[in-house]
Amino acid sequence: MKLIKRRFAMKPCSLFTAALVLLGAAPVWAQTTMEGGGHAGHPGTAPAPTRAESPASATMDYGSMNMQGGPAPADARDPHAYSNGLTLESGPYALPGPRQLRLSDEHAFGSVLLDRLERVYTKDGNATAYDAQAWFGGTYDRLVLKAEGDVAKGKLEEARTEVLWGHAIASYWDTQLGVRQDSGTGPDRTWLAFGIRGLAPYWFNVDATAYVGSSGRTALRLSGEYELLLTQRLILQPRMEVNLYRQRDEARGLGSGLADAAAGLRLRYEFSRQFAPYVGVEWAGKFGQTADFARAEGQRTRETRYVVGVRLWF
């Protein structure tokens, strides 16, 4: 799936809602891909609307009306049934040699997105943060690169870099499998990554990845974004991120359980779709043992960050 999602400005969405959806990311996905299953002419396979309220407020669960996703029924039509065994390369009147007509469905595309390139201002000093994604390939299979990190006082504090194979599995969902490398303060760590990313109902961009590292380490990273169009070009982006670890990793200042979370609001102006400066505020916290480690180092465990940056892609 592409990196950049347009989003819908439909209803004012609070961070709380975003958080709920994020934490429920897996169930949301499961529901979306499992929904449906019947098709026309098979009565009874779709759940009937359950809510009966006043006509004005009666809402239907559109997502489960068989219109999207779901497995193909056993009697679904064979898309090759009309070919009588002919192919694009063979059969009467086919041009000699290999197939010549190749359209863009067989071309590779690519893009680099700097979702966040920002200067971060806190009470304890300033830093520069980046969050970039790039992809190259086709519609359904592509190479994905992700890079996120902070640089303070000329030193790389914390960086996460991933190389993934993105594979489309449903209308709005891709799996992402590959490796992650953590660098910066403390020893480097390498992980295998098993992720899912996509667009949940109500236009939440969701990214959930489980990691397996050496010596039995596992981790989970959940992030999500929403894009609220105030106007066609002025866009408010709430953003959430949560990291959890199963084992403590004292050398990197990480405890087990919920380690850290961040929630931010960025307001950008799209001079063009590809160039948008922004300002924002982000709240970040460390929890549990991770917070203890931070306190022992004399660091804060809660902080408010003010950010100024630019979002761009090409």
């Binding site: 799936m1 592409k2 990196l3 950049i4 999602k5 347009r6 819908f8 400005a9 439909m10 209803k11 449906g36 019947g38 098709h39 026309a40 002419g41 009874g44 779709a46 009937a48 609307p49 004005a56 407020s57 239907m60 669960d61 997502g63 009306m65 068989n66 219109m67 999207q68 779901g70 193909a72 679904a76 039509r77 064979d78 898309p79 009309y82 002919l86 694009l88 009147y93 086919a94 041009l95 197939r99 007509l101 190749r102 359209l103 863009s104 469905d105 067989e106 893009s111 519609t139 359904y140 599995i169 209308s171 709005y172 667009l199 109902p201 109500y202 169009l229 106007t231 066609q232 892609w313």
Partner: protein, 604 residues
């Protein structure tokens, strides 16, 4: 045809953005050429626009080359035929065998497809299917006999050359007197131009499919709706779209944000003008040669009598307005009596318009209407036939009719109906049972329609209940009835599919590269049902054979080469497989075709 004089209007002092959409007055003429383009353009004449030269006879030479244009203030290179946009109008005669030599002076291969012309498949001009294409520096000789009459057109079928200027009118005049009488006869060819490299445009859509849509719902719209209709109805209006992650303003992939809309190769500011004397019958041959744009055409103050559709004469029907997509043509008769009228062709997504003038002398113009407001797609556009009467109403109004939908009862009834028909021997009616392909249940599609609408009397989004009489498919009757009186021997159902989020377009969920050909037995009469599982209208063009559109009851309506299928609509037509060979069949929105909404047809 009068010569174009694009210089009679001063260039309005508009912000650059306006100039971009409305174009330069002197479109096509080099202005402020940057040095590097000048170097590239050295020795090249400027592209002619406006009145395309007319070529006739049985021997015609066409040369494909690059030539400089300037529609927006930024000089660009176009791909042109004989150095003009549109390409020369070919006036050919029914029954003649024509020889057309096409020489390629580009650095890449090219081709010309004769859109709507019945001819041997080797002459159809689709590289990789009908022939090898025309390599740089070479000449290909097309030769075919004209078996038909009417208004058609021709264009490149290679890469994105159609977008960059390779299109022209092709008129086949009848040997006998033309039953359509007119005192004046003009080609009005609509097209669209982008200063961007079309391949780059496609790459941008692959990253962000709503890149060019600046009509998206915003928080401001939401609060306005809350004030107008209350919170719960405002939420309701959005619930379906949000749950399904679909955009109700997704009416066009490209908009005025990148396109300049052209009439006979002239920008709106340039104002193409056709002359008449009051009271004359003027025949306007409208051709949609755009790569991406559906146009809604009207001439305020004039009724238009539609007399031909896709080159085939129809029983005259008088309307105020018609919509047509890339590939379609309509001939209309108008009888103007005032001094000047505006020919107004707004894009379906209401981001711009092409415009020209009918006038008694050069230099006149009439009022140019404002663009119509942007309308959201409705439930009917997404879900189909819950309730025809409710079409055009807002979504909450349609809720009541949806309870029946989950039970599939309607589809079953129709299905049984069709089954009875079949057991009766003749397939008198198109089957109404929806049969999705296995490959529609995956990442290549974003929705499926189980309850399609089959009525053909819907003018479409943005034209419903607009107070004007708007042409629909149901209004068209080809004079003389079908070419082949036989009924269908079998049925082919193809679904138009896509995933807007990923910017994929396909048939039955399979892009061209993954597809196999549709095989037709030589001589058979077959029914084709096109079922649109997307929220966009697709002009579907079958090469080599006529498509005879029928009503949902199986009554013949109109003979077409390009059939617009609206969102959630199911249209059926009969084809006689009388043309041996391999043929292309695709959506004529160029980017949709290029993304794989394309099938090969083999007749053997």
């Amino acid at each position: 045809m009068p010569s174009l004089s694009p210089f009679h209007l001063p260039l309005p002092l508009m912000p650059s953005r306006r100039r971009f959409v409305r174009g330069l007055v002197a479109g096509g003429v080099m202005v402020g050429l940057s040095p590097w383009v000048r170097a590239a353009a050295q020795g090249l004449a400027d592209t002619r626009t406006g009145a395309a030269p007319v070529l006739s006879g049985t021997n015609i030479d066409l040369v494909v080359a690059e030539s400089p244009v300037n529609f927006t203030g930024t000089p660009r290179m176009a791909t042109t035929i004989n150095g003009s946009i549109p390409a020369p109008t070919l006036k050919l005669r029914e029954g003649d065998t024509v020889t057309i030599r096409v020489t390629n002076r580009l650095r890449e291969a090219t081709s010309i497809h004769w859109h709507g012309i019945i001819l041997p498949y080797q002459m159809d001009g689709v590289p990789g299917i009908s022939f090898q294409g025309i390599p740089p520096g070479e000449t290909f000789t097309y030769q075919f006999r004209l078996e038909q009459t009417g208004t058609y057109w021709y264009h490149s079928h290679s890469g994105m050359q159609e977008q960059t200027g390779m299109y022209g009118a092709l008129i086949v005049e009848p040997r006998e007197a033309d039953p359509i009488r007119a005192d004046r006869d003009y080609v009005v060819q609509l097209s669209d131009w982008t200063d961007e490299d079309p391949m780059r445009v496609l790459a941008k859509l692959k990253v962000q499919s709503d890149y060019y849509n600046y009509h998206q719902p915003t928080a401001i719209d939401f609060f306005r709706d809350v004030a107008d209709m209350g919170l719960s109805r405002a939420l309701d209006k959005r619930a379906m779209w949000n749950q399904m992650r679909m955009n109700p303003t997704d009416l066009a992939d490209l908009s005025g944000a990148t396109l300049t809309y052209l009439m006979n190769g002239v920008t709106p500011a340039g104002n193409w003008t056709g002359l008449f004397r009051p009271g004359e019958r003027v025949r306007l041959r409208f051709i949609n040669g755009a790569a991406n744009t559906f146009y809604d055409v009207r001439i305020p103050g004039l009724k238009m009598t539609v007399v031909q559709s896709d080159g085939q004469n129809v029983e005259p029907v008088t309307v105020d307005e018609f919509r047509f997509g890339p590939g379609e043509t309509y001939d209309v008769i108008v009888t103007p009596r005032e001094d000047a009228y505006t020919i107004f062709a707004q894009s379906m997504d209401r981001t711009g318009f092409a415009r020209g003038t009918l006038a008694v002398r050069e230099g006149l113009s009439a009022a140019v209407p404002a663009l119509d407001p942007v309308e959201w797609l409705t439930m009917a556009d997404m879900m189909g036939a819950m309730d025809h009467a409710a079409m055009g109403h807002d979504m909450p109004g349609m809720k009541h009719d949806m309870s029946g939908m989950n039970h599939g009862a309607m589809a079953m009834d129709h299905g049984q109906h069709a089954m009875h028909g079949m057991t009766g021997g003749a397939m008198a009616k198109p089957s109404a049972t929806v049969r999705h392909a296995r490959t529609e249940y995956g990442p290549s599609t974003d929705m499926r329609v189980d309850m399609p609408r089959t009525n053909l009397d819907d003018p479409g989004i943005g034209l419903r209940n607009n107070g004007r009489r708007v042409l629909t498919l149901a209004d068209l009757r080809t004079i003389g009835g079908p070419l082949d009186p036989r009924g269908a021997e079998r049925e082919i159902e193809l679904h138009l599919t896509g995933n807007m989020e990923r910017y994929t377009w396909s048939l039955d969920g399979l892009e061209f590269g993954k597809s196999t050909p549709v095989h037709l037995k030589y001589g058979e009469r077959v029914r084709v049902i096109l079922h649109n599982d997307t929220m966009m209208t697709h002009p579907m063009h079958l090469h080599g054979m006529w498509s005879e559109v029928e009503t949902p009851d199986g009554q013949f309506l109109v003979r077409r080469h390009t059939i617009p299928v609206q969102p959630a609509q199911r249209v059926s037509f009969l084809v006689t497989a009388d043309a041996l060979g391999r043929w292309a069949w695709h959506c004529h929105l160029m980017l949709h075709m290029d993304m794989g909404m394309f099938r090969e047809v083999v007749v053997s």
